[in-house]
């Protein structure tokens, strides 16, 4: 978790904040206690959900619920694994859509960022504003016309079609980030390549691309998380059971048979669905936080 801080921090500048927090001893203890209380509250829903997922089904639907599991069982997980077409079908759908989203995002954002960062062109700011259009026009409003068009060209109920919609969501952020990463690469390197007789495409491939890897990783990371989690367009576009993504599958797990909710299976599903995002966040926190701060406010 410390990487979260390293990404954001300018050591000297942050010093006064620390001192300003008034570090007399009693205050220090109080602050520590508040930190622990806040962390407990934030973690509690996840921990409780996990505990519910490993209770035996009878205990999982007991009222009132038990804090500490009195029984241990993986039955809820087995149920989720065997749900309808099988969990792997839905995970496969989600992964395929996420990978396609990453690929399309990078294929568009890397060249666009390079072009905007490194070349003069007429009306550059106009193009940039157009590229930011998806930030200003909510994609929720565009789903009807997109659905009608996609139905005509066979992209409705298709992984590629859904990935296109997810790309719309991520593109402005991706281009913004790539533009920044290319801008931060020293000009001398480019000059050297020109002297060597490389054309701009070769320069991109051999010089810029390797240096822009952190930016590329960040774009991919965000595209994955956004696509894996996206709900509304998956709900509208994927209307065949077997093409559901994980979030849509979860909602149908809840609906269950005979109208009664299988609480244990639902929590097992919740835990499985958040696992990839939590793992990525813990492992790649540095990229994640840097990208977040770079893209969210600017």
């Amino acid at each position: 978790m410390t990487a979260l801080a390293e990404g954001t921090v300018r050591p000297a500048a942050a010093e006064h904040v620390s001192r300003a927090a008034g570090e007399s001893r009693p205050v220090g203890y109080l602050v520590g206690a508040i930190c622990i209380a806040v962390s407990t509250i934030m973690l509690a829903p996840l921990v409780l959900s996990f505990l519910a997922s490993i209770k035996a089904p009878d205990e999982a639907r007991a009222s009132p619920p038990t804090y500490i599991p009195q029984s241990f069982s993986l039955e809820s997980y087995l149920k989720v694994f065997e749900y309808q077409a099988g969990l792997w079908t839905y995970v496969g759908n989600s992964l395929l859509v996420a990978v396609l989203t990453i690929v399309i995002c990078l294929a568009l954002a890397v060249p666009a960022g390079y072009g905007l960062a490194r070349f003069k062109m007429p009306f550059k700011e106009v193009w940039f504003i157009i590229l930011l259009a998806p930030l200003m026009i909510p994609y929720q409003a565009l789903l009807t016309p997109l659905y009608l068009t996609f139905s005509k060209i066979g992209l409705a109920n298709s992984h590629l079609g859904l990935a296109m919609v997810h790309t719309i969501l991520q593109l402005p952020f991706s281009i913004y980030l790539m533009r920044n990463s290319f801008e931060s690469i020293p000009r001398e390197l480019e000059e050297a390549a020109k002297v060597d007789g490389s054309n701009s495409w070769q320069t991109l491939r051999s010089i810029f691309f390797p240096l822009a890897v952190p930016g590329i990783v960040t774009v991919g990371l965000f595209a994955f998380i956004a696509s894996w989690n996206e709900f509304l367009s998956a709900l509208i576009f994927m209307n065949k059971e077997t093409s559901f993504t994980v979030p849509i599958m979860l909602v149908s797990v809840r609906t269950g048979r005979l109208g009664s909710v299988d609480w244990g299976a639902l929590q097992a599903g919740v835990i499985l669905s958040i696992l990839p995002c939590v793992l990525i966040y813990l492992l790649l926190q540095r990229y994640y936080v840097a990208g977040f701060l770079n893209g969210a406010v600017k």
Binding site: H16, A141, T149, V297
Partner: protein, 291 residues
């Protein structure tokens, strides 16, 4: 112009992304405008009806109720997210191990899908098996487990609690970055002047964080105005359609009742409202490149 662009190598690199945005954002937007002027349904139709859908929208009580509910939700949750987010940022901004870990934990739910988090809280809030109810009863806040989603106000409160848990780290992290970027010397000066901690917060940290606060507020307002998943999953629009948000009502019209033309008109109205906030956001964020 075209000749100048053809000669511009850089434009060639930007072209694919421009084509994509044109095909999947600008063109659908034009289609949306056209659709809103027709009586298209998923089952057919498509006659041009002029402004009839808009006239209908203005007289549609359900639509106004959904819009009003969305505004109510936005007005209710935004101060909570900003105030609590800023307080947590003050708490976790110093780079001490415990505070950094707390910061990381508070941010964790931001990476979780809103579908998953809504289903998690749907369970926590359940009257029979819900753990949140059990905790509230055990610490004496409630006398008996509450039914959260059968009254509109309770539902609003429940959704707000769950979304606060989910997104509070978003604003907090932006505020932390803002606070940490404030020049240390300014704080030192105040320290010498003998200002206490809360005076420094009020006279230095808060004013210098205004731009970040404003931007974060805009992002948050836009998000709340477009809320859908949390209500779709937790309340289903109930009781009696009182918790439909704008996006939810558009979804109902377009994809449940198949009234695509009418849904398109509603979408245009919502887009126009959100555009005010998002334009402001883009202008603000491009104005000063610092931070």
């Amino acid at each position: 112009m075209i000749r100048a662009l053809r000669k511009s190598e850089g434009f060639l690199y930007v072209l694919p992304a421009l084509a994509f945005v044109t095909a999947f954002v600008l063109w659908p937007l034009a289609q949306l405008v056209y659709l809103s002027l027709t009586d298209t349904s998923l089952l057919g139709g498509g006659e041009f009806v002029g402004l009839e859908n808009y006239v209908k929208a203005f007289g549609d009580k359900s639509f106004w109720r959904a819009l009003e509910f969305t505004l109510k939700y936005t007005v209710f949750i935004t101060p909570i997210l900003m105030g609590l987010g800023f307080a947590l940022a003050l708490l976790t901004a110093p780079n001490r191990p415990l505070r950094q870990i707390t910061r990381g934990i508070i941010f964790l739910p931001v990476v979780i899908g809103i579908g998953s988090s809504s289903l998690l809280w749907f369970w926590l809030f359940d009257q029979q098996v819900g753990m949140f109810n059990r905790i509230l009863v055990d610490i004496g806040i409630l006398a008996e487990p509450a039914v959260w989603f059968t009254k509109a106000d309770m539902a609003l409160l429940g959704v707000t609690i769950s979304i606060t848990w989910k997104v509070i780290g978003f604003g907090m992290l932006l505020f932390v970055a803002g606070i940490q970027s404030i020049n240390g010397e300014i704080g030192e000066a105040a320290l010498i002047d003998g200002g206490n901690y809360w005076q420094r917060v009020w006279y230095i940290i808060l004013p210098l964080s205004l731009r970040v606060i404003l931007l974060t507020t805009l992002i948050s307002v836009i998000g709340s105005m477009l809320a859908f998943e949390q209500f779709y999953i937790m309340t289903g629009g109930n009781p009696r359609g009182q918790t439909f948000t704008s996006v939810y009502w558009i979804y109902q019209n377009s994809f449940i009742s198949f009234k695509l033309g009418y849904g398109a008109a509603l979408s245009i109205i919502l887009t126009a409202i959100v555009l005010v906030f998002s334009t402001l956001q883009v202008i603000l964020s491009n104005r000063s490149p610092s931070q």
